[in-house]
């Protein structure tokens, strides 16, 4: 792998993506929602007088991860439950972002027939794949990490410092800094495979939506109290997503063969 080529491709991808409003919107909207949620949640909960049965059940389950949770006043317990639940949004931004960027990058190249001149240079197919992959993963990951930093800042430093241990704990950090990049790679891999088969960005994103479903499932699972993220669950999910990433990478390496690109990509 010659990094000069990978960097060149990454810069080109960035130049193109910087001008694609829809891609930025797809990442910015969930990010803004995630940032607004703690403000609304913590402010609204301050007015609550008693916990409902569902929240009590969630607090009891969360107490397995945070035994000290039950010592907080009820309003803060609810705030922790809500904030932990919406923390899964930081897995949604990388998967949606990587999926969108990957589909745009491949379908755009196919539609404008820009890959053949690129392949006619000394560039190797694996460098092409790496350049595109880094571009598609790095940008949503930077957005995710920036968003998480703002999320913690707003919640802990602006709203209530007592929430700090529940947002900067091992589980949250593992989710955002270890699991999220693998989730982004999953979105990238799925998006690339779908994009090689269709010629329309929207169609590719709609079909590629299946890679977003497991992340939405995590969000719903938490909301219903079926899932509580602890260290082992996050590590297990990371291992599972990593294996899926390896499979998708293998498929994409095979798909990025010049002969296949020139003759079989729809």
């Amino acid at each position: 792998m010659r990094w000069h080529y990978v960097r060149t491709l990454f810069i080109k991808e960035w130049q193109e993506l910087a001008r694609q409003r829809m891609i930025w919107m797809a990442m910015l909207v969930p990010l803004l929602i995630t940032l607004v949620i703690p403000i609304i949640t913590v402010r609204a909960i301050g007015a609550e007088e008693a916990l409902d049965q569902d929240t009590i059940r969630l607090v009891q389950r969360l107490a397995i991860v945070f035994p000290e949770l039950t010592t907080l006043d009820p309003q803060l317990q609810v705030a922790v439950v809500m904030l932990r639940m919406f923390g899964a949004m930081f897995l949604l931004i990388p998967v949606v972002g990587a999926l969108n960027i990957a589909t745009y990058a491949i379908v755009g190249e196919k539609r404008n027939r820009t890959l053949e001149p690129v392949l006619a240079t000394p560039l190797r197919p694996q460098e092409l794949l790496a350049g595109k992959s880094i571009g598609a993963v790095a940008i949503p990951m930077l957005m995710t990490w920036l968003g998480y930093t703002l999320y913690v800042f707003v919640t802990v430093f602006v709203l209530d410092a007592r929430l700090r241990p529940y947002l900067l704990d091992t589980v949250s950090l593992l989710m955002v800094f270890v699991l999220a990049p693998f989730v982004a790679l999953f979105g990238l891999g799925g998006g690339m495979i779908v994009s090689t088969r269709v010629n329309d960005v929207r169609a590719a994103q709609q079909i590629g939506g299946f890679v977003v479903l497991p992340v939405v499932g995590l969000f719903v699972g938490q909301a219903l109290g079926w899932l509580i993220f602890d260290t082992w669950l996050v590590l297990l999910m990371t291992a599972g997503v990593f294996l899926l990433d390896v499979v998708l990478l293998g498929i994409n390496v095979a798909l990025f063969d010049p002969e296949r690109i020139l003759t079989r990509w729809a």
Binding site: T8, K12, E16, E116, V118, P122, T263
Partner: protein, 315 residues
Amino acid sequence: MRAPFLIETEHLTKRFGDIVAVENVSLHIERGEVLALLGPNGAGKTTTIRLLLGLLQPTEGTARVLGYDMRRRSQAEKARARVGVLTETPGLYDTLTALENLRFFANLYAIPKADAAIETYLRVVELWDRRDERVGTFSKGMRQRLALARALLHEPDILFLDEPTSGLDPAATRRIRELLLDLKAQGRTTLLTTHNLDEAERLADRIAVVRTRLLVIDTPKALRLRLYGRRVRIALATPSPHALDVVRTLPFVRHALLADDKTLLVQVESPDVHNPSLIEALVQAGARIRWVEEDRVSLEDVYLQLVGEPEEATA
């Protein structure tokens, strides 16, 4: 050591399943030569270029460019660094400016003084003043000129030009042809594919007519002679019903036909030697001759005879 031929193929064959795209093509292109690959759609022209770039692997046969074996990926990579390509469609990034497009390719070719090369070629193709505009706003002709600049940016030893004027309006076609004539004058080794016979004749030293297989390869002039000999056009003052029969009996006439009731087209072995006897025979048969001239066989006639007939007839 300099390779005797910059481009060589031996029995080059490419099949996609049951479909034969290129069959048993052997070509040898010398340094400084411009070869036009002429053929109908689906004749294997683009596939041949892709094989010569090492982007497709041949099913049989070999392809060497600048002495490199294009079947081997590492060698193909080295060859591609010294080859400029104008693909069938310009393949430019619409959201990037002309400058950004060329800078991207300059980096891929690892050009040392990229900015100077970019400026030089943007000026050559007369797009320097539009360098900061997005390519999406460019006309077809401007895109093709920019793609040509991209192909020349790294001063390649060989140029592959895949239908460089396809789909362009006459003014844009003329501008591209002028640029290609300049390149020819510089002695660039070029493989050009085209449907356009006039373009092939103007630009190429030799023409290879292909229809999956290589049907014939020669200079434009030799192709005409080889396929048609030399043809004489005889204009009669009045229709002469027996003139054609008379001409056909002459031993040196290879072929004769009536273009219309007062025009005879006669193919003779040597007009310089045989024209006097031909005219004498016609006059004796009562024909009244207005004028006689040697007919110029167009390359189109040659091409249509080659690709317009069943393969067996032209093989």
